[in-house]
């Protein structure tokens, strides 16, 4: 290689080329896929899916595909049943990691469902496809009526000076799951007006008419009403979109169902949710908006899973 470089430079007239970055760096830069490029992959994926035709995609040879944690052949499951796309599309990306995700409304044989999609793109080929599909039959609650356009906060750019390093922002989001496990909202860096929307339904702050009364996201955790969630494990944070202050966590909530009631401070004994009734898990893709180092909005896609079922990516 050195001999070649010397020979090249000795020719003089190619001096400019010799001073340029090595060719593989140039190619790598060329291959790197920025936000627009990554979003294009999502568009391409969704179009191919609705056409039931995986051959339209640039796929790596060893591409891996899961739906609801189950490894499947590409073309199976939602690929066979998707009949259209809704208007609702929320994209987020981490270009340095070749990672892009989306929450999308899909039509499946005419019935709406929410798709969470994660792609990994290497050298402009898709190497990983992870999906969760919240369907009426595979989750305990779902309402797609309000999923028309993404909430604007998820699209807002965070000023460059206010972007925490990846490790820090992931740690902040991790405290949310710690807070669920410990029944303690005080340890979570919630914005006081934080909103959480799960499968299209706002679940905090709760309304005054709910069994808990009007409570913020943090206060809700501190009631210990989520005691049936014994652990949030495993936890992955595959996408950090630092430009927008977004973190995608993919986690499993484990519900061993060893108790169905809990003592809520100030309210006495209360029956916990239906997931406390039998051993089960939920697989969850949860998108967090972090602004001013506070969690200010959460959007989640939730699918009921067999107790401690692998997410397919451990």
């Amino acid at each position: 290689m050195r001999v070649k470089v010397l020979a090249c430079c000795s020719l003089g007239f190619l001096l400019l080329i010799c001073a340029a970055p090595p060719m593989d760096t140039v190619l790598a830069a060329d291959r790197q896929c920025n936000r627009a490029c990554l979003n294009g992959f999502v568009d391409q994926y969704l179009a191919a899916m609705v056409a039931h035709d995986p051959s339209r995609l640039p796929l790596a040879k060893n591409v891996k595909f899961t739906e609801d944690g189950v490894p499947l052949k590409l073309g199976d499951a939602l690929w066979a049943t998707a009949t259209g796309l809704g208007a609702y599309k929320l994209y987020f990306a981490e270009p340095a990691a070749g990672a892009v995700g989306a929450f999308v409304l899909v039509q499946e044989n005419g019935t709406p469902a929410i798709l969470e999609l994660r792609l990994k793109v290497v050298k402009r080929q898709i190497t990983e496809i992870e999906t969760l599909v919240a369907r009426k039959e595979t989750t305990s609650f779902l309402n797609t009526d309000n999923l028309i356009v993404p909430r604007p906060v998820f699209l807002e750019t965070v000023p460059a000076a206010d972007r925490p390093p990846r490790e820090e922002i992931v740690s902040m989001v991790g405290k949310y799951f710690d807070g669920i496990e410990q029944g303690n909202g005080d340890i979570v860096p919630f914005d006081k007006d934080c909103i959480r929307i799960e499968n299209g339904i706002q679940t905090c702050p709760s309304s005054a008419s709910s069994s808990l009364g009007a409570l913020s996201c943090g206060a809700q955790l501190s009631t210990k009403i989520f005691t049936y969630i014994q652990s949030v494990s495993p936890r992955r944070f595959p996408i950090v979109d630092d430009e927008r202050g977004l973190v995608l966590a993919i986690v499993r909530f484990n519900h061993p169902a060893t108790s169905q009631t809990v003592d809520v401070p100030g309210r006495g004994k209360m029956t916990m949710g239906r997931y406390s009734q039998w051993p089960n898990s939920t697989e969850i893709a949860e998108l967090f908006k972090v602004k001013d180092r506070k969690i200010c909005e959460i959007s989640a896609v939730i699918v009921t899973a067999t107790y401690k079922a692998p997410t397919g990516w451990e």
Binding site: T111, P279, P310
Partner: protein
Amino acid sequence: MKRKLFAVIAMGVLCSGAFAARSGKGEASANPPRPADASSCDRECLNGFVDRYLDAVVAHDPSRLPLTKTVKFTEDGQRLGLGDGFWRTATERGTYKFYMDDPQAGQVVFFGTMREAGTPVSLVLRLKIENRKIAEIETIVVRQGMNPARPNDTGAESFEKLGGPDPLFLEAIPPAERVSRDELARTANKYFSGMQMNDGKGDYSFFADDCSRVENGQLATGGRNTMASGSAPDNSYGVLAGCRAQFQSGLLHFVTRIRDRRFVVLDTEHGVALAFIFFDHAAGNTRTFQTPDGKTVTAGPTNPWTWEMAEAFKVEKGQIRRIQAIFHRCPYGMNSGWSSWEDSMSDKARW
């Protein structure tokens, strides 16, 4: 180096030969069980292990059991630590008990009812016994929450109303009429092959005229099967009486794949075969099809749907007379926890 290379090639030839022999049959006995010896576990012994196991579950105490060092436990296809899952929540044994034994394979499967926090549930339990220790534990627990087709019925109450298994399952086959393990499995497997992408045009003579099927405690071949896919009555196999008539209708086409067919009990003395399987419903363009009478029908689930199932067959004189199944919905395409991905996706039968 040359020696090593030769050894590798020789191994490769042996392996490929074994594979060819296996795949050539299309269905296969991968590991034929060794004949029983003095240390093996007879029916009484196997059933005793089931009872000990269930008593230990209710006591939430796995330490009561004789376990091999490498014992493996799954619940609903997921590998768990023994003591987790149903071990924590079981409160009582139920009254329905159906033991299916295969002493030659050292395996027993139990269909029964239990209580979980007081709620009736149906249970499938498979134990594999080695040297009088439990080496494998496979369970399916049918609960209300996991069965959207019948959200308030786990089958347990229906099973208990039946009182016990159909007596035919318990009758011994006259020695002269007993068939080999292979033949028993092949006959039972015709049921799965006839149902997968059912077109109504196959040879369904493997059903006896009086064949009946019970699913989660309810008769599914009496002409009033309310579980039959949610299809309109005109398009539902469930309104037809009899095993053969349902297959001849071609209305089960939407069952697109019956995979990971593991025959784990082959009881030649009683003519009983039991398989763990998954029924996949891809729910795409396979929902619309033509029946033998020329009618175009759209039927079956509208989203990808898998039943995780254990199904028992009573086979006499080469025909299926009784079928009993316990099942629930599971994530589409799920693995049993006992098969490679390739085997779990294959529709080849294994025993």
